[in-house]
């Protein structure tokens, strides 16, 4: 049998539709010592290019999948093991993994991750879940995003939790009617999804506008929220790049949209044509432009933030653990706002922009796990 000290590095599943990925290049080499969060390989799917990071520490002993090769999700692509594991055992494990890739056997079956819908306040809200056991974690995207923005995190978190992500009103495949577009209305959608799941309590993870919504949901549903992880949240200071918000709502073409979306990331090279095309396809759905303009009115008055999450956090008063995660190179909302999140554990991710969950997923995942562990 396989030595249980051998840890398989597998092809990740980034998003529900991903069936296979191509390794465009190995960053780590055989023999390298790696620790959690170290970059192992660049991987490309039909939708996105990303970097696979190590989940744990050890020596990268065998690389199985070659650069340029298409590999089904969950297939073993490399082996990490301590020095004590023999070369013979590793070669045997590598040969088995190689045979599975060559046979084209799909590694992971779908685990019932199809999108579901709930009706909340007369609006259709889409959400999707992964994971069998553990506490419920609900991921809340920001302005202009959708539940696919969590593609790097949803599967890894699902190893220990039941992880759901929703499309807020006006976004993704949810109803495009946002009503008054207030944070309270949007928080109502979050609590409505928890009702639909049948979750009495949940850990909330919110990005940007989703951070303010998570805080508002915690205030509106006392006792239902076990912890809050806020990623570059709105509502903790006056500054925000209002030009970005209006530019995103107003962009009609790929040429107009691409530079706007580039501002979200520290490395604008992450904005592929596919990313821009997907956003354009969303923005062109009937009702989306009106929804975004309403939300801009929720977010800013002129060039200044309108939402006040700081007071709400103070009102919660340490009843649940709160963590704030911010990219030091955030160009949309300054990372200095992290200091205004009272009582929070703060993680500053050096060099990340406004999208650390896409730019540096392993560090964000670690922060979320740590927050969940702190909950009573």
């Amino acid at each position: 049998m396989t030595d249980d000290r051998i840890v398989a590095v597998t092809m990740p599943k980034w998003g529900l539709s991903m069936r296979a990925g191509k390794i465009t290049g190995w960053i780590a080499a055989e023999g390298d010592e790696v620790s959690a969060g170290d970059e192992l390989a660049d991987i490309e799917t039909e939708k996105i290019a990303g970097t696979l990071e190590a989940a744990g520490a050890g020596t990268l002993r065998r690389i199985i999948a070659r650069a340029g090769e298409d590999v089904p999700v969950s297939s073993t692509i490399a082996l990490i093991a301590p020095p004590g594991v023999s070369d013979d055992d590793l070669d045997a494990a590598a040969a088995r993994a190689r045979a599975l890739i060559d046979a084209g056997v799909p590694g992971g079956a779908d685990e019932g991750t199809a999108a579901r819908t709930a009706t909340v306040d007369g609006r259709r809200i889409s959400y999707a879940g992964t994971g069998q056991d553990g506490e419920v974690v609900l991921l809340i995207h920001g302005y202009g995003g959708d539940r696919n923005s969590w593609l790097f995190l949803q599967e890894p978190l699902a190893a220990r939790h039941r992880v759901y992500a929703l499309d807020l009103p006006g976004h993704g495949t949810s109803s495009k009617d946002v009503g008054d577009g207030s944070v309270g209305t949007l928080a109502g959608a979050v609590l409505g999804v928890l009702d639909a799941i049948g979750a009495k309590r949940a850990h909330l993870v919110g990005h940007s506008l989703g951070g303010a919504i998570a805080v508002a949901a915690a205030v509106a549903g006392p006792g239902r929220i076990s912890s809050l992880t806020l990623i570059a949240p709105t509502g903790f200071g006056p500054e925000i790049d209002a030009g970005y918000l209006r530019g995103f709502a107003g962009a009609r073409t790929r040429r107009e949209l691409k530079p706007v979306v580039g501002q979200l990331f520290a490395d604008e090279g992450l904005v592929t044509r596919q990313v821009v095309d997907d956003l354009l396809a969303y923005k062109r759905l009937d009702g989306v432009e009106a929804a975004l303009r309403t939300l801009v009115g929720t977010l800013v008055d002129g060039d200044t933030q309108r939402i006040d999450s700081a007071a709400a956090i103070a009102a919660i008063g340490g009843a649940v653990p709160v963590t704030v995660v911010w990219g030091s190179a955030d160009r949309i909302i300054p990372a200095a706002h992290a200091r205004s999140v009272a009582g929070a554990v703060r993680h500053l991710i050096d060099g990340a922009g406004h999208m650390p969950h896409l730019e540096r997923p392993a560090e964000v995942q670690a922060a979320i796990e740590e927050t969940i562990a702190r909950a009573p």
Binding site: A115, T253, R273, A281, R284, L285
Partner: protein
């Protein structure tokens, strides 16, 4: 939410959603209501290939069955458009457009211009084009160049279900006359299409595959032929950028020029006959505006300058296939002075 539906269903859905949204939208054409009440038929046929099936009962009085008189009903559609309706006329085969040309190119196309912008003509004429169905020379032509030539008409040639729905939605909402070309061989092509309504702007080409070596500019059914060739060529180390024009009028010159400026090599793939064609037009555009970027002569892969043959073996040779596209790309990629 995007699910997978066919090109035919995508067109039907765009019609249904726009009829739902705007009661001035009406549908007219031959065999729209034909078959109603005949033995074994539960519904109207919905046109010769069933594209408008289901609309006749869903929108009573708004799906008009016309006599076999294209000049009459296309003229009526254009007249209704000038009087405040948004008619979508289905002219079975583009090959029959000749009998109603005056209404289209000398009337509909001219009203906005000749009335100083005070008149609009929001009519859509849907029509089938293309070879491959053994339908002979009078039912198989690719006549979009004729309409592209006329200022005042907008010309749309969708390649995928997603584009078909979004471009037809835009065509119906547009205030100018639009000729909407549907390839017969694409009706059963399936692809992801959002359930909700959406409009794709005219004059925005779609880069359907990125590559650094050779630009392939194409449209309609030939997008799929070009992608098949590009896939084969990638295995041989030649990386093609495939640009789907989506509309020939207005034309997205910038996307074509930007791509050729990056690759330095151009192959245009067009199912139409080559003279005065989209292929010739794109070649001239690039030769004039991106001459300095070209590193090889431009290649055109088109049908020959003959009618579409009825004999199956000849028709198969007539329509450009992936092998011919691949050969042209290789010739351009390997060209040396």
């Amino acid at each position: 939410m995007a699910r997978t539906i066919t090109y035919r269903e995508a067109i039907n859905e765009a019609l249904a959603q726009e009829m739902e949204r705007d009661e001035s939208v009406i549908v007219m054409g031959e065999d729209n209501a034909g078959g109603e009440g005949s033995p074994g038929e539960m519904d109207a046929w919905g046109g010769v290939l069933g594209v408008t099936k289901g609309l006749y009962h869903r929108f009573p009085g708004r799906v008009l069955d016309t006599p076999i008189s294209e000049s009459a009903f296309v003229g009526a559609a254009i007249g209704a458009a000038t009087a405040g309706m948004r008619p979508v006329a289905e002219l079975m085969f583009v090959d029959f457009m000749g009998v109603c040309f005056d209404q289209i190119y000398n009337q509909a196309a001219k009203f906005r211009y000749m009335f100083g912008g005070k008149a609009v003509t929001p009519v859509v004429i849907r029509t089938m084009y293309g070879a491959g169905l053994r339908a002979a020379a009078q039912h198989s032509q690719c006549l979009y160049p004729l309409f592209t030539h006329i200022p005042g008409l907008k010309v749309v040639v969708p390649a995928t279900p997603y584009d078909a729905k979004g471009l037809l939605t835009q065509a119906i909402r547009d205030d100018d006359p639009v000729i909407f070309f549907e390839h017969k061989a694409l009706y059963d092509l399936a692809g992801p299409v959002p359930e909700e309504g959406y409009a794709l702007p005219f004059g925005e080409a779609n880069v359907v595959r990125e590559g650094d070596d050779v630009t392939i500019v194409t449209l309609g059914r030939m997008v799929h032929t070009s992608l098949e060739a590009a896939q084969q060529l990638a295995g041989a180390g030649v990386h093609c950028e495939v640009v789907d024009l989506r509309t020939t009028s207005p034309l997205d010159e910038d996307t074509v020029l930007e791509s050729v400026e990056a690759t330095g090599r151009l192959v245009v793939v067009d199912e139409a006959n080559p003279r005065c064609s989209v292929a010739a037009d794109i070649s001239a555009l690039v030769a004039r505006k991106a001459f300095g970027a070209l590193r090889a002569p431009i290649e055109m892969v088109t049908a020959p300058h003959t009618p579409v043959p009825f004999a199956g073996t000849l028709e198969d040779r007539y329509v450009p296939d992936a092998q011919r596209v691949a050969n042209a790309v290789k010739a351009v990629a390997e060209w040396a002075r």
